[in-house]
Assembly symmetry: D2
Homo-oligomer: 324 residues x 4
């Protein structure tokens, strides 16, 4: 419970940089500012980089903007377009691509419902292709979408469910959408991460264990995630760090006090966190009060981004007005 979790490659890199003051070897970084949005493209190039950053080799693209939390319709459209562009760049280059969208998470736990909510807004066509016995179409791709639920309510490992569906419906690619955890409150609901490596075990809010990745599913897996909570333990730990920093700035370097601050062991910090949070003895999360509304907005942005990226003849006007 007191482990500091992050599902963002961006933050994993940040943690390394804060400690070592250097870039991670084997990891390439590219930054771009597009209007109000910071696009960061992290690529884990080799096994050393993967080991250090704690994420598999592949691409991790984050779109960051504090405006994501607001309901401004024009900005939402911009984000959908940006997301669609980044998605297209990593989708297989073929016509009539067959896509399965998988929404992870629990519909009944608000900050975990991002995946199921996106699935409910994806423009699904596969049954029409089957009904009319079509193989291809100029305007729409063959898209299916499912929310397999979470292990605690189905009793099934999510990867088993998705693997079975992939084997029987044979998509070219799987797009997995999930709620993530961040280590910083400022990234909550303001960051969309796209990656080519699927969802790695232990991530997200839930208890998913086997990876949803190409190795397990047999087809490429793109993951889209948004951190929707911070662990209470993370917030508590961050606060402790800040207090120590504040005192350190006031203490004379080398003084007994300064040394004491610097020597506060991880163990003692953990004892403090435990003392503060343990009485509750459950998964405690930090989240904005209006999380319900924010998840609705985010799911619209992501579903629209997917709809535009996968269907060649669908643009923003369509997704905003004709698809519900």
């Amino acid at each position: 419970m007191f482990q500091l979790r992050t599902d963002l490659a961006l933050e994993a890199r940040e943690i390394y940089q804060e400690e070592k003051n250097e870039e991670i070897p084997g990891v390439a970084i590219d930054n771009e500012e597009i209007g109000d949005v910071i696009v960061t493209r992290v690529e884990v190039l080799d096994d050393e980089g993967a080991q250090i950053i704690g994420k598999p080799r592949g691409k991790y693209i984050t779109l960051e903007s504090a405006s994501l939390r607001k309901a401004d319709a024009d900005f939402k459209d911009e984000m959908s377009k940006l997301l669609a562009k980044e998605l297209k760049a990593i989708l297989p280059k073929k016509n009539n691509i067959k896509v399965l969208v998988v929404g992870l998470g629990n519909w009944d736990v608000t900050p975990d419902a991002l995946g199921p909510k996106v699935v409910s807004k994806v423009f699904v066509t596969r049954h029409l292709f089957k009904l009319y016995n079509k193989e291809d179409d100029v305007d729409v791709s063959e898209v299916s979408a499912i929310s397999p639920g979470v292990m605690g309510t189905t009793g099934l490992e999510t990867s088993e469910v998705v693997k079975g569906i992939v084997e029987n419906s044979r998509p070219d690619i799987v797009i997995v959408v999930d709620a993530l955890a961040s280590r910083k409150m400022e990234r909550v609901n303001s960051t969309i991460q796209i990656s080519t490596t699927g969802i790695t075990p232990g991530s997200g809010l839930g208890n998913k264990r086997k990876a949803l990745d190409e190795g397990n599913l047999g087809v490429p897996v793109i993951a889209i995630g948004v951190p929707t909570v911070v662990d209470a333990a993370t917030l508590t730990s961050d606060t402790i760090e800040r207090v120590i920093d504040a005192f350190s700035r006031q203490a004379k370097v080398g003084s007994q006090f300064y040394n004491m601050l610097k020597e506060l062991r991880e163990e003692e910090k953990y004892d403090l966190i435990r003392e503060i949070l343990e009485p509750y003895s459950a998964n405690i999360i930090v989240t904005p009060k209006e999380v319900d509304e924010i998840i609705v907005n985010l799911s619209q942005i992501i579903a629209n981004g997917i709809n535009i990226a996968v269907h060649p003849g669908i643009d923003l006007k369509d997704v905003n007005r004709y698809i519900h």
Copy 2:
């Protein structure tokens, strides 16, 4: 749209009897009254019977009681126990049976949400068996449960989804729960049908096409269903029949009028039904106004029945109080 649909073997037999005044050859019937409940066990014994009744060979048990629509807690308990007893009689006789419960239907369309609502109340344990690496337990069986959604929203044939999950999670048996259509308003929400033959194509409210049966899934399939609606076309057709009957009773046998009544062709009846319902041009259903509440009660009864039948150490007290 104007086809008179029934998913109940009981009604299929009734239709035959009304026309022929005899029992269907190759079909055995057994009746029992238990308190307020009529239990009818129809067994389709051979192919001739199957052809006539329009249902595959196997057992069809119906529990009928008008009290099912009311929320009386004691009666609900009685029904759960009765259902559990009938279920146990057709479940494979083995210890530590592995069960997958599948809830068909659309969570967002009230009279079609019976299956998903049952799934949400089934006591699921499979993940605990996996977590603790157990093979068997004295009190609970290994149970998983999923609602795969409907083709119109997932783009996936339901049988593909369930087949994939069966192949990857390897249950001994699948229990499928679905909302059915009845041809008589009096059976709506007052009848539970259990069958050993799975769900046959074209049944239910939705657009399921491939059967969820042993042939397709590779393991035995028990189906549990409740008629939750009557087609508006069925109600209209019934009304026409009753009007003709009423006039016939008043007309002299052999009179021109009597003959006209008797000769009203099917075609003309259909023209009438079309004239009445066609302006709406959609699936029109007849349902009690309080269907939301009734579906909640029915899903509780069925989930409890399943919980008692499959878990050896769980009884009514447990399901009512400790499982939610």
Copy 3:
């Protein structure tokens, strides 16, 4: 239960015309076709007209179009604009009008949830006027909105609740939104009725008894309603009529048969309806299967119509994109 209900002035007039083959005295009618939409303005001018049509003196405007049931975004916009125009014509002519929108009906019974769903989409501003201590604004009026629930779940007469709120919040006008009953399937979800007379007792799906009108509330009341169901008894009765009509067309005028058909007493018809529906012994309604989705669309159209009509500076672009 077997009373043929209609909440539409249009249908009340139709019934009279069918029987008498003449226009109702004291009732003025005006028709207009605007694109795909038929606008009918019925005005009950005097007490005689009110008595015959069974509705109080005042204006009843219906917008009818089968396209209302479909999700075409452009058509929805057209309807919102048309509705706004008709609403504006009957709203008090004053700046900075204070409006209370009341959504009648039960959120948990789908076809009855129209009112609460509209309320959830109305652009509410009254608290901001209070917060900033403003009396007027160029762009927005002072609008509040509430769904008081239904008597069966609150124990409170709806008119008591609304009267209390009106007395304490002092709006200039109340707009009441409710689901209605129609006598014809073809009008279900295809007709919006606006009236200046409030909601009369006994209307709607529920058990509302005291009128929500100017007499009871002390301020003018505009009612907006859509028939979302037909009573099963109405459908059954209609079917009986059609069967009799069909036979009548085939029988020789003056024959014994013809006379029998013509003489079928109301009482006998009711016996028939009772025989068909009574086994169920509950409120049975006829409704399209996709009623959930249709109610969402209708509530959007009506909420947008209200938003445009009451806020001087808000147009369609705003309601579609910035108000959720």
Copy 4:
């Protein structure tokens, strides 16, 4: 935003005691342990006590138990009985009492939905008294219940709405149920507070401003509340305190370091909190991940407690089995 909020009289007293090491003058305290539950009865006796504790004169009873967060059915029953007993002790002593239950909060924001969820489970009878024109009944009292929504979605001050309903429906007493804020994570979802003073301005999660109390409503008001969240600012502030305490224990009294710790001004603490939380710029709350399920359980306990306390002929067996 950074104000440390508590709605619990218990905590207000605790804060005073921590600072002053004495009991608040004019405040009487009584403790009792009943099984797993600690019952604390705080009575604010005079104006001095009211001023210091920051709560009006009256009784504040808290039932505390960590078991409240778990779904054990037997414990839930015990709590309902305890709650009913404490409620009965402060309800007016008269037969056929008329009760209005008001559920404050926003149905759509999970930790704020406690009030509306309790209302949906209260056994409502007022309409039946009116329907049968009864004045009294041996088994049930005249109970009504409403969830007036929150100002942000209705535009109406909650007190205006409730006042109007009280004036028009004339109950003897109002019971208000609301979600509260606590200053300690350990009290979240483990404490029920009952008070005779209504809900004071600024409490709860929302933006309620005018008190729902006897002064405003004209009838006595009992408030029932459960802290369902902790402000993120409170958790952060607590953490800072604990860090300082930890260092203080290690520093020599009188040393420069010790003095620096003691002298850390409130202002600097606030700067720290702001630095940590401000990037998010919204209401941030700390809550258990499973808050949805916990709120369901708590609302059942409270609704049952009210049902038993107000209806003379209803006991636990009834509320658990016959009332939904």
